[in-house]
């Protein structure tokens, strides 16, 4: 056996210290947010934010549900329905084209792949996109404005294609000889073989829809259609504007400042489901990222 030298030991200690610190830095802000949301408002105003709940209470959450429970629940409903419908449609759209492009017999697959690539390297930009979406498709103030613009991602398509390409083409041919159409091959052979990758892609889409507020910022003015993230965004941006001191004090008096604990509680409510799902879904994301990386 080779003896571990002092240098190696130092390196090891450094590695533990560095990684431990990085991990703490990543998780500390979240603990802080959680702790403030569970503190009493008065204590926070007095002592500032602290990572240990001060005077532990669920008052803030009770308050939120009593005062803006209906708005919040509606936003929750919007976010969940957008994420579910969006993810479901996105999986179908993405898996069909990914499968088709993974079949060698498809002659023009490179042409189609190039069209996909082209959307990555060149885009019309925000304004033409916005004008087209609002003037022609009437997505402004429209529930579908939250779904349609994000229902297909070329990145996810190429990622899924990598998985489909791993399936031996001979399996397809066997089914074809038995008289199955390509759609049957896709639904009965390819999809069942790619359950895990499909789950990975599905989770990626779901996260994207869950975290989306860009579409809402672009299209939605009606409060009844605000998704959760956009609701939080509005709570915060009012506060930012006020604390920068640019809004005349008279105006500020009219805007009801959400209390510190309320802001943090809304944040926790927004990320709550993610925190609970995280331990179970994390490995799929890691898998997806690793596959994407290897593809490069």
């Amino acid at each position: 056996m080779i003896k571990t030298s002092t240098g190696d030991k130092v390196l090891k200690v450094f590695a533990y210290a560095f990684l431990g610190c990085m991990a703490l830095v990543c998780v500390y802000p979240l603990l802080l947010t959680l702790s403030v949301s569970l503190s009493s408002e008065r204590e926070v105003a007095l002592h500032g934010y602290s990572v240990i709940p001060q005077n532990f209470s669920l008052d803030t959450y009770t308050y939120i549900f009593a005062h803006s429970g209906a708005t919040l629940l509606r936003s929750y409903g919007i976010t969940i329905s957008v994420a579910v419908i969006g993810t479901f449609s996105a999986i179908i759209i993405t898996s069909m084209i990914s499968f088709a492009l993974s079949v060698d017999a498809l002659k023009y697959r490179n042409v189609i792949a190039f069209l996909c690539d082209f959307t990555i390297i060149f885009s019309a930009g925000l304004i033409p996109w916005y004008v087209t979406c609002t003037n022609y498709y009437h997505l402004d103030n429209n529930y579908f404005g939250l779904i349609l613009p994000s229902v297909f991602s070329v990145w996810n398509m190429f990622l899924l294609r990598t998985y489909f390409k791993g399936i031996p083409q001979s399996l397809y041919e066997a089914a074809r000889i038995d008289g199955a159409s390509y759609f049957t091959v896709y639904a009965k052979v390819a999809m069942p073989l790619c359950k895990t990758p499909l789950l990975t892609i599905g989770l990626m889409y779901f996260l994207q829809f869950w975290n989306d507020w860009w579409n809402a910022l672009m299209f939605i003015r009606d409060k009844a259609l605000w998704p959760l993230q956009y609701y939080l965004y509005n709570v915060l941006s009012n506060v930012n504007a006020i604390s920068s001191g640019t809004i005349p004090s008279g105006a500020a008096a009219n805007i009801e400042l959400p209390a510190e604990t309320v802001k943090m509680a809304v944040t926790i409510i927004t990320i709550g489901p993610i925190i609970f799902a995280y331990p179970f879904v994390q490995k799929y994301f890691v898998n997806g990222i690793m596959t994407g990386a290897v593809k490069e």
């Binding site: 105003a45 885009s123 930009g125 390509y182 941006s237």
Partner: protein
């Protein structure tokens, strides 16, 4: 199928002409399956490109995209010389992206390399999970967290400053601090994600090389310097080139999610993308389309170059 016919020549001609139709007919199911995605790209990527013409006009809603008066390059000229904002937002974008790029190289690589050096499985698992978590948060949530740190009265940073006897700062009224804050926030959000990419690369390493180095008595540190880092180079180069390709694109979500519409610090962190968004309301569609077009052209050039380079370098490295 009809090869028994005898007269090959005219038939071959017909065949050639209709290869396209034949292929479509033969694989129509597959093409139909591409349909929804192609329709999506047509609707949201290709049709909007017509709107680029607005960049050369003074857009008038009533006259439509192609009926509005043509003004040549006026919009572009105004961006660089008239608005007073052009050079500034370009500078901000490049500044933030440059530091994102550098820190986005150093930290994820350090994390990946050091994870390789430690044995504790439980520690590894937990700290990896913790580092990856910020990736799951939206920029709005990150904005809320940052508020918790920099709020004037209750924020953590000011409390620490006052406890240490320093002057507190009204962070949300001081623009000069926000570029670094955004850069750190970006690092915080993406470090775990990017380190996974490097760990994926390291998982593919040939372990016999490290074994040989160990037998030869090379210290862990030397192994990192002379083996791990050079072997990570192709991955780092590819990721860097991808960032360089998008260096003229600011992260709208990051800037807007954290700073929002704060008018005081807005100018100090305005990137091209947020400027386009705000110019849309104040300076009109044509002007902001022009800026977007400039950005897209720079993107097209840089991404294509980066892509070419990446392929070249990757193949070169692949021989080792």
């Amino acid at each position: 199928m009809l090869s028994g016919n005898g007269d090959g020549a005219p038939q071959a001609k017909v065949k050639k002409k209709s290869t396209f139709a034949k292929e479509i007919k033969r694989n129509h199911t597959l093409y139909l399956m591409c349909g929804p995605a192609l329709l999506f790209m047509l609707l949201f990527n290709f049709i909007p490109m017509r709107g680029l013409w607005m960049a050369f006009t003074k857009y008038d809603l009533r006259k439509g995209i192609f009926g509005s008066p043509f003004v040549g390059l006026d919009n572009f000229h105004y961006f660089f010389f008239g608005s007073g904002m052009g050079p500034r937002v370009i500078y901000n974008t490049l500044y933030i992206n440059f530091f994102n790029l550098i820190l986005g190289l150093i930290f994820p690589i350090a994390v990946a390399v050091l994870f390789n050096e430690i044995g504790g499985k439980l520690f590894k698992k937990f700290s990896q999970s913790m580092m990856f978590f910020p990736y799951f948060l939206s920029w709005v949530v990150v904005g809320a967290i940052i508020y918790g740190f920099f709020a004037t009265d209750t924020g953590v940073v000011n409390r620490v400053l006052s406890n240490l006897g320093f002057e507190t700062v009204r962070w949300y009224a001081e623009g000069k601090y926000w570029k670094p804050i955004l850069i750190i926030a970006n690092l915080w959000k993406w470090c775990g994600y990017n380190s996974i990419i490097y760990m994926a690369a390291m998982a593919g390493f040939d372990h016999s090389v490290f074994e040989a180095a160990r037998v030869d008595g090379a210290s862990k540190f030397k192994q990192i310097i002379y083996l791990t880092l050079p072997m990570l180079k192709p991955t780092a180069v590819v990721l860097t080139l991808m960032s360089v390709g998008r260096i003229f694109f600011g992260d709208f979500g990051m800037v807007y999610g954290i700073v929002g519409n704060n008018p005081v610090i807005g100018n100090d962190v305005a990137v091209i993308d947020t400027y386009v968004y705000s110019a849309m309301r104040t300076l009109g569609f044509s002007y902001s389309t022009a800026i977007g077009l400039l950005q897209s052209i720079m993107g097209l050039i840089l991404v294509s170059l980066a892509n070419m380079l990446a392929k070249k370098i990757n193949d070169g490295e692949g021989l080792f």
